[in-house]
């Protein structure tokens, strides 16, 4: 399922509100494109529903999403996190989970937080953004071609 340009823009806005500043230098749009490609239809529709809910909620509150500052987006998410309605309080969790996958899977962010875990950038953050043919690794136990 393809997201609209507005949806992609909003998703980026969500990440800006949810992630620490150290993560915002990453090419998150590249990550978003891969989420769009890989998420099963049900999840993609779920994500679209979350973005629509955010838009409507902001509109009904008299201040559209697009006119709000990052701090206001963050405050909205904080409020949703404490909701007694399960679906509403899970929406920021879903968005935060996606953002965290991108941010904390990247060696640059990990380094900024003193976490020496990964050494090379994930595929979505590489300049060519190439999705390699699977199984063509260095020919380890699982990787060698017949």
């Amino acid at each position: 399922m393809r997201f609209t340009a507005t949806e992609m823009h909003m998703l980026h806005g969500c990440f800006r509100a949810l992630l620490p500043p150290e993560a915002l230098e990453l090419p998150l749009v590249g990550f978003q494109i891969w989420v769009e490609r890989l998420a099963p239809a049900r999840v993609a529709w779920g994500l679209r529903g979350v973005l629509l809910y955010l838009r409507l909620r902001c509109l009904l509150a008299g201040r559209p999403w697009g006119r709000r500052r990052v701090t206001e987006h963050r405050a909205l998410f904080e409020e949703m996190r404490t909701s007694s309605v399960y679906l509403i309080r899970e929406m920021p969790v879903m968005l935060k989970a996606l953002g965290a996958f991108a941010a904390f899977g990247h060696p640059d962010t990990q380094r900024a937080f003193g976490l020496p875990v990964d050494t090379s950038p994930p595929f979505w953050a590489r300049p060519d953004q190439r999705w390699e043919r699977r199984g063509t690794g260095s020919g380890g136990v699982g990787g060698a071609e017949p």
């Binding site: 003193g114 390699e132 699977r134 136990v141 017949p146």
Partner: protein, 518 residues
């Protein structure tokens, strides 16, 4: 790995007209690999068809999202729906979920085995002595041994300290690894090739005995003739995009074995027309839902050093819970820690001091795997109130153990408790916790151990497969994975799945070889 053939490298003849073997096995995880290992050794011509691809060494050195995208079902987004959404984790690659699992080894618990013998006719093949013999062999072939003390790491060690202080027994986990480098990345596929998963053990053994495996090959249905299973129809997938390519027919001279997991096997059965009379296929889906408590210590924990899962406690197994240490990569840790924006950054700066331990519940709940009206699968699952009481009690134990081990802040992960709880507030939090309603929406569980969607039993009216794991409705079609388990286990299932498939394959080999001889 000789023996593994990517779909796009198959000879044109096979891509057009398919292939034939004595036994076709669908899926190369715990069950499929054990079956291939035994059937090939018995001299049968074995063809394994696997939807996923082999994972190369480079691909194991990846962040979580890349790993999920490459070799997890639905890129890691598979969920069960109920009052809460619960992630259902499964691997899709050569070696199946064993490649991305925690490498914890357990034998089938005696009380569960006794129940299966008593109530489900399991004694026909799965008598204690046969299973013990197979478990011993598997222990050898998979290099099973308890975690060495110098590979524990702080996350595992502290769990022992906490449980000792509570007077609850605990011990280092027995794992299927050889020369483990304690890099705590088992869930992304061991980057050092130390995990003795199926792609490194039973599959190469099967290949040495002549078995072959076609990867990127998604089986769509079982083919029948004269009321017998005679083969399968599969789609060859594009190696990069995973887009479905040509449909190919594979024929089986003796048997078709489904080992596609407790989620995918019932779907295949239903698509093949099995289960129309009893409506049992896909029902009775069971699991071990699990949730975790994080705890912050003064001293560094550095979860990224040590065995991913190196310490466990069965002290409250009779109360349907099992505790395990579980090192969490930072991407997943960030989801669990509170705080948004800069506040999340503050939490993550202390990540090196965080430990995580989990409780897994032998839940009573039954769910269902069906086809969605929108296409694709639908997994329905809802924890019962009694299960949730177990979850709450398990979370309480984990918090107490962390406090006893010296934690100063706890992250219970329960809606209704503080997200960040100083240990001084623990007594009050425990009182609050016990009074909370048993609503599954209060916690974030995941499910990784799945069972029961094509149960075994003697009575065709209440079971999908016979005690020798052949389909009641369709002779020649066998189910060897944990779909056939009549109940969940309360312990990690890989070893039991392998052993059951092994034993069933021995019986199948005997009858096939006898039929060949005559």
């Amino acid at each position: 790995m000789t023996g593994v053939h990517r779909a796009d490298a198959l000879p044109a003849e096979v891509r057009r007209h398919g292939d034939i073997a004595d036994v076709i096995i669908v899926g190369s995880g715990a069950a499929g690999s054990a079956a291939a290992r035994v059937l090939a050794e018995a001299g049968l011509d074995v063809l394994v068809l696997e939807e996923g691809a082999p994972i190369g060494l480079a691909e194991r050195r990846r962040d979580v999202f890349s790993g999920f995208a490459a070799h997890w079902r639905d890129a890691g987004f598979q969920v069960a729906e109920g009052r809460a959404f619960t992630p259902v984790l499964q691997g899709v690659c050569v070696g199946g979920t064993t490649v991305v699992n925690g490498a914890i080894i357990h034998r089938l618990p005696e009380p569960i085995h006794r129940q299966w013998l008593r109530e489900h006719g399991a004694g026909h093949l799965f008598d204690a002595r046969s299973l013990e013999r197979i478990f011993d062999t598997l222990d050898r072939e998979l290099s099973v041994a308890p975690v060495a003390p110098d590979h524990q790491g702080e996350n595992n060690r502290l769990m022992g300290v906490g449980f000792d202080a509570l007077g609850l027994s605990s011990h280092p986990i027995a794992r299927n690894v050889a020369g483990c480098e304690a890099s705590a990345r088992c869930l992304q596929g061991c980057p050092n090739e130390r995990k003795r998963s199926m792609d490194a053990t039973l599959l190469p053994r099967a290949f040495a005995d002549g078995a072959r495996l076609y990867a990127d090959c998604r089986v769509e249905r079982v083919l029948t003739r004269g009321g017998r299973a005679v083969g399968v129809r599969a789609r060859l997938l594009d190696a990069i995009t995973r887009a479905p390519g040509p449909a190919v027919t594979f024929r089986a001279r003796r048997a078709v074995v489904l080992a596609a997991s407790a989620v995918e096997t019932p779907r295949l059965l239903r698509r093949s027309g099995v289960g129309r009379t009893t409506d049992l296929v896909g029902r009775r889906f069971q699991a071990h839902p699990g949730t975790a408590v994080l705890a912050e210590f003064d001293a560094p924990v550095e979860m990224w050093k040590g065995a991913t899962q190196g310490h466990e406690s069965l002290a409250r197994w009779d109360e349907r819970m099992k505790f395990e240490a579980l090192a969490l990569p930072p991407e997943l840790g960030a989801v669990r820690l509170p705080g948004l924006g800069p506040a999340l950054g503050d939490e993550m700066r202390r990540y090196g001091h965080i430990a995580q331990w989990a409780v897994q519940v032998r839940a009573r709940a039954h769910g269902r795997v069906t086809e969605s009206l929108l296409g694709g699968k639908r997994i329905r699952y809802d924890l019962e109130d009694a299960d949730m009481e177990v979850v709450k009690s398990g979370v309480a134990t984990l918090m107490q153990a962390a406090a006893a081990a010296g934690a100063r802040v706890l992250y219970p992960g329960v809606h209704g408790l503080a997200e960040r709880l100083p240990v001084a507030d623990l007594p009050a939090a425990l009182r609050t916790l016990s009074g909370l309603s048993p609503d599954p929406r209060r916690v974030h569980c995941i499910m990784a151990h799945l069972f029961g969607t094509a149960v075994m039993g003697e009575d065709p009216g209440s079971a999908v497969v016979s005690p020798s794991l052949e389909c009641h409705e369709l002779p020649g079609l066998y189910v060897f994975d944990s779909s056939v388990f009549p109940t969940n286990l309360g312990v990690n299932p890989q070893h039991t799945i392998c052993a059951m498939a092994w034993r069933a394959a021995e019986a199948l080999a005997e009858s096939a070889v006898a039929a060949q001889a005559s």
